[in-house]
Subunit: 610 residues, 2 copies
């Protein structure tokens, strides 16, 4: 410790909000180099490499072959697949000295496809699983939480190649099982949920989420076994309603109703319902103005209508509009749109209902809607439902505005928040919600990339078949953050032994030369037993600081050589996770602790069932 | 082999000129992804990782602590050090979505300096050696020879931090010794030569060159112990000459003299020297028009004058004008310069001799020369020397043009080729020339980066001292190319066992099931002994193809299970490098070969003297 490139911090870094970020910086595992870009310091690099090694073992166990593609890639293959534009500003792009386009790879489907095309030509060459563990680059709009969502991150990405769909399913299952073993081995809880494929494309995909309150993914589960990322949940659409008995829409004064709650209260007081039941938030239709940024940089206003008891879920919205990015409209965006009366936006001024809506034919002969912003509604806004909503005039709302009778929309969108108790789309019961950290994502890609890049092999009959692919990612650096989230207490990190940067920290506390010489010889003896030791040999550092540092760093065992050595010839062994302590004679300490470590390592390896 | 991601090529790749490039591609170790950018296939990645592991061991042995800095970096630290501009177009640069400047790191002096500044504050924290093994990026103007000079490459870069010059010398020496052990251990011949620091800066630096005819570096040695990269050689400057007896310069007709040789012949015939000795090429002064591209993109014409028996050495020229890049002037560059009469350029029309030369004061108050191109001459062009050179008129040269009397230059430049037998600058005798591949480069940087980025520590008296630094690189991927250059024959690669991707290739040749089952069980037995085995289990591939592939791949040992198995129960063991073969009973083969491999590995480890 006296020479190690380690300097712990007593204070949380100002920009850190989650425990893993705070602790990994304070304990000197990582340091910020730029927004969302981190340097791996010696401790962090050791833990990262141990996680990588475990991932590598599990990939090798399913026949994966490791390669390493460049991080800096020519644009052509990504232009061929469409991702050069689909990724939009999330792609780091550059030009070389000859003005050729390059990118920093966000993931490598195109390159693996081309490599297999280069080397394989027959169905006999398949199936194949090829992988790499590598730094990836994505210029995230909102990097956050340290290495949970960075702009560079270490990822294991593997790719399967099969001649037919059954082969793809087998390769997909092989990865799914490998991931289950991997996360079990790392001691990380996980849930497998249906997911959206996003820019990746493909027929179906699943995510491995680690349940955690600080996770940025929301997922749902039903008692009947449904599990999905909130982004992938489809709303159960109610049947159309017979609105023949509903009176005509009527505009009413609604002063002082800045919120849905105040609007509902006012309506109940001033305009009670004819049927006697009170107005509820779910009777209101809230129209939210968003702005989409398309990959080509074009900005588009979009109004999203959701029942007033729900909000816009930004991640569901972004998943729905991908590859476009979405954000709330700003004051500037409202300019030139007098029909959008802020706080009182109603369907009759927008979308197909706008009196200004025109169909234009552009130069390529495509129909384009102009004259009003696009209007998409939650799937619950079905034919015949009546709504309390904005009247497009300040301080006025309209009651009994009926979908299909008084207004329509340009379509539906899955962007509303999901509520605890919402029905599962497969009828398996009410949903419960939780948050999770995405550890892995497996995609049955199908033929998107092989078609774009013309990867075929000859089948048994000599006929060219387009190869079908899967792609499978593990966020290796994010796994480290998830492990830190799952393994810490108020004093610091509490690593599982399989990924701890060292197994043991030896502390010499006191001033006697004997303490330091005994500690040094125990550290040496442990080292000789193959135990990884960090020896805190600092001379002018108090015992209190050493204990605090040891707890912060979070190695599984601490061996304390202190004043008990002189008094009774003993040293103390502390278990970081259980906080158990026991004394052993100094001359037996190394052997005793080595045996504890070997047992713990064996138990950790045993968790994988081997 | 039947499922491995390996496909050998019979033909050399079209763009490959050197053996390592041809063989590493043909044997499926690497594949080109873009100009100067390569993909590491399974075999290549295994060998690269083994070299990395050996480098890591030697760095750890001198107390190096491994970290990993991002490859994608913010521009600010590089702007502070000046390298953002000094690197010019060699730096890959980009902007992120917020239009901030970023770069792909060519090397990491700035980041290590900042990290130490962040964590250390006292002389007690020093000395420190910190390193990483990582992909670096340089947009080389002329990538060549596969992974010998790529635009991305794997480099070990370490940095030393010391409080004083004696400390720096000690850290420098530590690295120098570690590099000697490293290259000895890899079995690579090397020469340590003085070098130019280039864009890196610093007081002195040395290169480790692997002598090889395909190396792009030329280096010189004298019997007296001088050794330097040709870039760093300084010319021994002759004493001034008394030119009082030399007659006036005279312009003569020189038709049909397209070369120095024809010019000399014509002069000897038409204008013999008064002193009776013949004209020689070294009496002529050749003026070559170059164009420099400065880091800010500005192009500048430069005429370089060298004795006619020498050429421009582009690498010496580039080293001399760095950070500018140099190339031969093109037709376009001559436009607007009627004073440059191609083929007949003489000193009297250029540089300070030009009648058009003016001194202008620019807006910042700096003097700038205008009206003629800059003129630099070889240091041998000393006061009083007389020259046959261009007369700035078509088909005319001038004789007896005396330096200092008839013309001057803007300065001297070390850009002429070095000739075998030139004197060593330190007087240690005539130089001999050879070519080499740069394996490593060690720099005593001094305080350039610590000053630019304000890295100080408090000394024993509590006074702030600017830290002094060294930086030390090993081209890990280039080392692999050098190993391939040094270890191959006409059939393929012949890896040393320490870096071979596998130790043994087991070949099953024939059709009998017994051959394949025996081969498989020997491969398994070897694997159980910890031997790394590649088993060629391909069924419909001829013995000839298998042998050819095995020789191309270059594993140290091949074990052949073929028809001798049925006849006499034996298999054959072949040593790839010595080509020795011997038969052993099949049931003893695994044990016998395992023992050979273990001996060879021990001997390889023994080369390092441990």
């Amino acid at each position: 410790m006296s020479t190690a490139f380690i300097r712990t911090l007593r204070e949380d870094p100002a920009d850190a909000e989650v425990a893993s970020h705070k602790l990994l910086v304070r304990a000197c595992y990582i340091r910020r180099a730029a927004p969302g870009i981190y340097t791996w310091l010696p401790l962090g690099l050791r833990t990262l490499r141990k996680i990588e090694a475990i991932v590598r073992e599990e990939m090798d166990a399913i026949g994966g072959q490791e390669v390493h593609f460049p991080g800096l890639l020519p644009a052509e293959p990504y232009k061929a697949s469409g991702r050069w534009s689909d990724y939009g500003p999330t792609l780091f792009t550059l030009t070389d000295r000859k003005d050729n386009d390059y990118l920093l790879a966000p993931t490598h489907e195109e390159m693996f496809t081309l490599a297999v095309k280069d080397m394989y030509s027959s169905y006999k060459d398949l199936p194949a699983v090829i992988y790499q563990i590598q730094t990836k680059y994505r210029d995230e709009a909102r990097p956050r939480a340290g290495i949970i969502r960075g702009r560079d991150f270490v990822m294991k990405d593997s790719y399967s190649f099969d001649v037919d769909d059954a082969g793809l399913e087998a390769s997909y299952r092989l990865h799914r099982d490998a991931y289950e073993r991997l996360f079990a081995r790392l001691g990380l809880d996980y849930v497998i949920v249906n997911a959206m494929a996003g820019a990746m494309g493909g027929s179906h995909s699943e995510e491995f989420l680690h349940p955690s309150p600080i996770g940025e993914d929301t997922f749902v589960r039903s008692a009947g076994g449904y599990a999905a990322n909130a982004e992938a949940v489809t709303t159960v659409v109610p049947d159309p309603v017979d609105a023949s008995g509903v009176g005509p829409a009527r505009v009413v004064d609604t002063p002082d109703t800045p919120t849905i709650e105040t609007l509902v209260d006012l309506c109940n007081e001033a305009y009670p319902r004819a049927d006697g039941r009170p107005w509820r938030a779910s009777d209101t239709l809230k129209n939210v103005v968003m702005v989409l940024t398309h990959p080509d940089g074009r900005r588009e206003l979009l109004v999203v209508g959701v029942p007033g008891d729900r909000d816009i879920d930004m991640r569901r919205l972004e998943a729905a509009v991908a590859p476009a990015e979405a954000e709330m409209a700003t004051d500037d965006d409202f300019e030139g749109h007098p029909e959008l009366v802020r706080g009182y936006i109603g369907p009759t001024a927008i979308g197909p209902n706008s009196p200004k809506r025109r169909v234009e034919i552009d130069q390529e002969g495509n129909e384009r809607l102009t004259g009003s912003v696009r209007y998409l509604v939650d799937p619950r806004i079905v034919e015949g439902t009546s709504w309390v909503t904005g009247a497009n005039e300040t301080k006025k709302h309209v009651l009994d505005l009926v979908m299909g009778r008084d207004f329509t929309a340009d379509g539906t969108i899955e962007a509303a928040t999901i509520h605890e108790g919402d029905p599962a789309p497969d009828g398996s019961g009410p949903l419960s919600l939780a948050r999770g950290i995405e550890l892995g994502h497996i995609f049955a890609l199908g033929r998107k990339y092989s078609r774009a890049l013309d990867l075929t092999v000859l089948d048994e009959n000599g006929k060219a078949q387009v190869v079908t692919m899967g792609s499978y990612g593990v966020g290796v650096s994010r796994v480290m953050a998830a492990l830190a989230e799952a393994n810490h207490d108020e004093h610091g990190l509490t690593w599982p032994i399989a990924v701890a940067p060292y197994h043991v920290q030896v502390l010499a506390t006191g001033k006697d030369e004997e303490i330091f010489s005994t500690a040094a010889s125990i550290a040496q003896a442990l080292d000789a037993e193959g135990i990884e030791v960090l020896y805190d040999d600092r001379r002018k550092v108090s015992a209190g600081v050493k204990f605090a540092d040891a707890e912060l760093l979070g190695l599984p065992y601490t061996l304390v050589v202190g004043r008990d050595l002189g008094k009774q010839g003993t040293v103390e062994i502390r278990d970081r996770r259980s906080a158990e302590r026991h004394s052993v004679p100094a001359n037996e300490a190394a052997e005793h602790l080595a045996s504890l470590v070997h047992q713990a390592l064996a138990a950790a390896a045993g968790d994988q069932g081997s």
